[in-house]
């Protein structure tokens, strides 16, 4: 039942700091008030971050919804079982491709695992030492329901209960930070992963909708609307009341909307390919470039539930993913921001090893994750799951996804992982020391 206290100390600090800020008390947006206080607060009193971790680091999460087929992304061409179980679906081994179905790309240092040919733009990043693939990621007692498995990844709880893992990070870190844009998700609905007890992400599908549409009704209406929503806490209204909170948030929303739309309106420094994921990453690239004070961004792309006629459909999806990620990296590079942005790509499960009778694959278990950024340990990480030692036709996982989360939380976001993940997980070796 514990309802959140949005600004646990703001009132108290405010009192201590006396009149300096009095003029801002009811007219400034929440985040400005708090940033003024932040400057005065003793170092460390409001941040849970570990010393030595820069504050401007960003995490971008990319969700591939539907269950991406890991075995046709990271191709185990050296294993007979792969070709035996997927007679019509398997990607050809390097050197054995056809015009219609080009061969897998060999990866330096691996003799039996390659990448789907359409993953070439991602492979280029691996070759540059700024991208990696973590193989065989999953969790015990895998659940094959889209909903449940997705919720498991979002909550970091194998019972799929509770708040989101990033939400809990935000609860710890952003509650009380001078920033209404601590976490932003792009898309129609905001992901559970980003929902904490107190924190919810700013969420919009297109930045142009992150505003009041009433202003389109008539040109004379914008001005009174601004007067209403920028008034801050009106006289006679208790600052701590629900109304005071709403009035401050309304002002935040105006400022935030202006800032986000200005950021996104700028053309990016590089050109992005078509497709939904590229569109979303472009928006995020622009916001990062505008140096918005956002710690976590979230995007998602669906369509990976390839039960039938999978081959070309899936190839097309992989082209979109890899070219969008590549363009995003080039954008960050042109901004000189590749060192402060880590991108993590996941799907709720992989697919079964054997193809089905419809030329597709059914819901499976362990699958690779993909990481992008100058700080990753590049290349193929971990072992490819065995194709001979299966669990009733499914791959066994080697890496618990929560040990990837743990590494990101501790070594990238600079916070203790155990309180957020509910227990301690050994950090996966995915980031450079």
């Amino acid at each position: 039942m514990a309802e959140h206290n949005d600004f646990p100390y703001s009132r108290r600090l405010f009192m201590q700091q006396g009149l300096v800020l009095a003029s801002m008390a009811s007219t400034a947006p929440v985040f400005l008030q708090r940033s003024a206080m932040g400057m005065m607060a003793p170092e460390g009193s409001m941040l849970s971050s570990r010393p030595g971790v820069p504050e401007d680091r960003v995490l971008v999460v990319v969700q591939l919804g539907g269950g991406n087929d890991g075995l046709n992304t990271v191709v185990p061409f050296g294993h007979d079982a792969y070709y035996r179980l997927r007679p019509n679906l398997a990607v050809a081994a390097p050197g054995k491709g056809t015009n219609d179905r080009p061969a897998a790309l060999a990866i330096d240092g691996s003799h039996d695992v390659g990448l789907h040919p359409n993953f070439a733009p991602f492979k280029a990043l691996m070759d540059d030492g700024v991208a990696s693939i973590v193989q065989g990621v999953g969790y015990p007692n895998p659940n094959r329901s889209h909903f449940t498995s997705m919720d498991i990844w979002h909550t970091a709880d194998t019972a799929a209960q509770g708040t989101g893992w990033i939400g809990r990070y935000l609860d710890n870190t952003c509650a009380g930070r001078p920033n209404p844009e601590c976490a932003i998700s792009i898309g129609r609905e905001s992901p559970l992963a980003m929902h904490g007890d107190t924190q919810r992400p700013v969420n919009f599908d297109s930045a142009d909708l992150f505003r009041w549409l009433g202003e389109d009704l008539h040109k004379t209406i914008r001005d009174p609307y601004e007067k209403i929503n920028r008034s801050g806490v009106l006289g006679d209204v208790d600052d701590d009341s629900q109304l005071g909170f709403l009035m401050r948030t309304a002002l935040d929303a105006q400022v935030s909307s202006q800032r986000i739309r200005a950021a996104v309106a700028k053309p990016p420094l590089v050109s992005y390919p078509g497709g939904e994921l590229a569109r979303q990453l472009r928006i995020i690239g622009s916001m990062i470039r505008a140096e918005m004070n956002t710690r976590v961004y979230y995007v998602s792309m669906g369509g990976f539930d390839t039960h039938a006629n999978q081959y070309f459909q899936h190839a097309n999806l992989l082209r979109q993913v890899s070219s969008a990620l590549n363009a995003f990296y080039q954008d960050l590079k042109a901004q000189d921001n590749t060192g402060r942005v880590l991108t993590m790509v996941f799907s709720e499960f992989g697919r079964r090893v054997a193809q089905n009778a419809s030329g597709g694959t059914d819901h499976g278990t362990a699958a690779p994750m993909y990481l992008l950024g100058d700080m990753v340990q590049p290349g193929l990480r971990g072992k490819h799951p065995s194709l001979s030692d299966l669990d009733s036709g499914d791959l066994k996982f080697n890496v618990d996804f929560r040990s990837v989360y743990a590494a990101i939380l501790e070594d990238w976001m600079g916070t203790k992982a155990a309180p957020i993940l509910g227990r301690s997980f050994k950090k996966a070796a995915i980031l450079r020391a």
């Binding site: 039942m1 514990a2 309802e3 959140h4 206290n5 949005d6 329901s145 909903f147 449940t148 919720d151 019972a159 799929a160 209960q161 708040t163 209404p180 129609r188 609905e189 905001s190 929902h195 007890d197 107190t198 919810r200 992400p201 700013v202 919009f204 909708l209 992150f210 505003r211 009041w212 549409l213 009433g214 389109d216 009704l217 008539h218 004379t220 209406i221 001005d223 009174p224 609307y225 007067k227 209403i228 009106l234 006679d236 009341s241 629900q242 109304l243 909170f245 709403l246 009035m247 948030t249 309304a250 935040d252 929303a253 935030s256 909307s257 039960h307 089905n356 009778a357 419809s358 059914d362």
Partner: protein, 498 residues
């Protein structure tokens, strides 16, 4: 004599604005005419009218309205043929079964959409608003999500269960909840068996449904309670008690020892005072004031109401009568003190302003975008409510939803579509303000619209903003200007309160 804090409002003080407050909270608001009717009935009769909703005729739900067969389990015969296909490696037959299952899952998701629309429509049109409001309360209290259940008919059954107990007996409802297929599935009690207990239902039963987190029970009580609940499962659409799965041994729950079953477990819980106080606390936040921490008076109110709740053996109707009649409920500190849930925002706007419903499917989606996806609460904790509803993005969605209801302008519209607005006739909202010459005085129009929508004395700042707006467009009240005024009023932070 009831304790002082529960004393009823002086009936003479029950004016239009008190009736406005009551209908907003016990239901989803209403038109001026409806509120005047209640006002004229007086406090006592109005509260009875709202509570004894059975006397208002409304289409009862036909049990065959939704298909209960979509996700029904396979017959033994089907199971045998699948096994046969598997063992003989008959790929075509296995594939056929797989396709058939996928088809059923798709059909079930379709039916889920229908179910959501159906409930939304009901909340909008029901002449028994309290029935739907309490159903919504219980949906957030005994929260279970379709995502973990994937059976639309079970969701429907659970929704009807809440409706059946809207003002009924909370203890009996709890007995029914541990037999409810949706809840059993959601909290994995179908996997709770003697040999391998699953504690999920036992834990939430105490933590979230009755006693409150960490309140009056221990981890040991959860373990023992889980044993009592072993064997409580379901078979297709009905509760099933599997004796073979039940642990018949002796258990000690909340210091009482015996060979308890799930029902004994519930009875033991309800022998504790905390069970009444926790639910009264939640009712208080839902109906009276949603501050995270109730005021001192609020806490006293909760304690006294809980006492009455126990005396009434957990019957809801008497304590709701006390609550809706109490002076405390009408105290100005508790008026416009609750942040509307997304559903409240949507339904109240339609019921009080008489806007068109537009497309009920859009309203369901809008609810989800604002953080309240019906039949899909974020977790078994339900919705946190209060300030958790609001952040910068949900605020824009709330304001834009109102633009949609008022003008038909969809949030994903293209700019040129603003030339084809489908506004509605809002003039009836102010007709009663015409003077003898049939003229409308703009100030009294502002004053009325602000009061009627915000439920209090308007702030001078808001009056002057509306005045400036009207002057900028020629000082005349017509429908276009009325829609403009309503667009502005519903964009006010105050409008998010009820």
């Amino acid at each position: 004599m009831p304790p002082y804090i529960l004393k009823p409002l002086n009936p003479k003080k029950f004016d239009f604005w008190k009736a406005w407050h009551l209908l907003g909270r016990a239901g989803f608001g209403g038109s001026r005419e409806q509120i005047e009717t209640l006002q004229n009935m007086g406090l006592r009769d109005t509260v009875d009218h709202i509570l004894n909703f059975e006397s208002h005729p409304y289409e009862s739900t036909a049990w065959n309205r939704f298909d209960h067969d979509i996700m029904s389990p396979r017959t033994p015969e089907q199971q045998r043929s699948i096994q046969k296909a598997r063992s003989s490696g008959d790929e075509a037959a296995i594939e056929a079964f797989r396709m058939e299952r996928q088809k059923r899952q798709r059909a079930d998701r379709e039916q889920m959409i229908e179910l959501r629309n159906w409930w939304m429509q009901r909340m909008i049109e029901s002449p028994r608003p309290l029935e739907e409001k309490m159903t919504l309360f219980f949906h957030g209290h005994f929260a279970a999500s379709y995502r973990g259940i994937e059976d639309s008919y079970h969701m429907f059954m659970q929704n009807e269960l809440f409706r059946e107990f809207a003002t009924g007996n909370f203890k009996k409802l709890t007995h029914r909840i541990i037999r409810d297929p949706a809840m059993i599935k959601y909290l994995n009690n179908n996997q709770n068996r003697k040999q391998a207990p699953n504690e999920n239902l036992a834990r939430e039963l105490m933590e979230l449904f009755t006693l409150g987190e960490g309140n009056d029970y221990t981890e040991a009580d959860i373990k023992e309670g889980a044993r009592a609940l072993t064997g409580f499962t379901y078979d297709d659409d009905t509760f099933a008690y599997r004796r073979g799965m039940h642990d018949p041994g002796s258990k000690t729950i909340l210091a009482q020892t015996g060979k308890w079953t799930g029902d004994d477990f519930v009875n033991i819980i309800f022998s504790r005072k905390s069970a009444s106080e926790f639910l009264c606390f939640k009712l208080y936040r839902f109906f009276v004031n949603d501050a995270a921490e109730p005021s001192r008076a609020g806490k006293t109110f909760i304690v006294e109401l809980a006492k009455q709740f126990r005396e009434a053996d957990y019957e809801l109707r008497p304590i709701l009568r006390t609550l809706f009649s109490s002076a405390h409920f009408y105290d100005e500190k508790n008026v416009s003190a609750i942040i509307k849930s997304p559903i409240q925002l949507i339904v109240q706007a339609i019921r009080s302003l008489n806007t068109p419903v537009r497309d009920v499917r859009d309203l369901v989606v809008a609810g989800a975008l604002m953080g309240q996806s019906i039949f899909q609460p974020p977790s078994v904790k339900g919705w946190n409510g209060g300030r958790a509803w609001i952040n910068t993005s949900s605020l824009f969605i709330r304001q834009n939803l109102m633009i949609y209801l008022l003008t038909g302008l969809r949030p994903d519209a293209y700019p040129w579509q603003t030339d084809h607005l489908e506004t509605f006739d809002a003039m009836p909202l102010v007709e009663h303000l015409r003077d003898e010459q049939g003229r409308l005085d703009s100030l009294s129009v502002f004053d009325w619209l602000l009061r009627f929508n915000l439920g209090g004395t308007p702030h001078p700042n808001r009056l002057s903003v509306l005045d400036d707006y009207l002057r900028s467009r020629g000082d005349r009240i017509d429908n276009t200007r009325l829609i403009g005024l309503l667009s502005l009023i519903t964009s006010m932070p105050e409008y998010q309160l009820c």
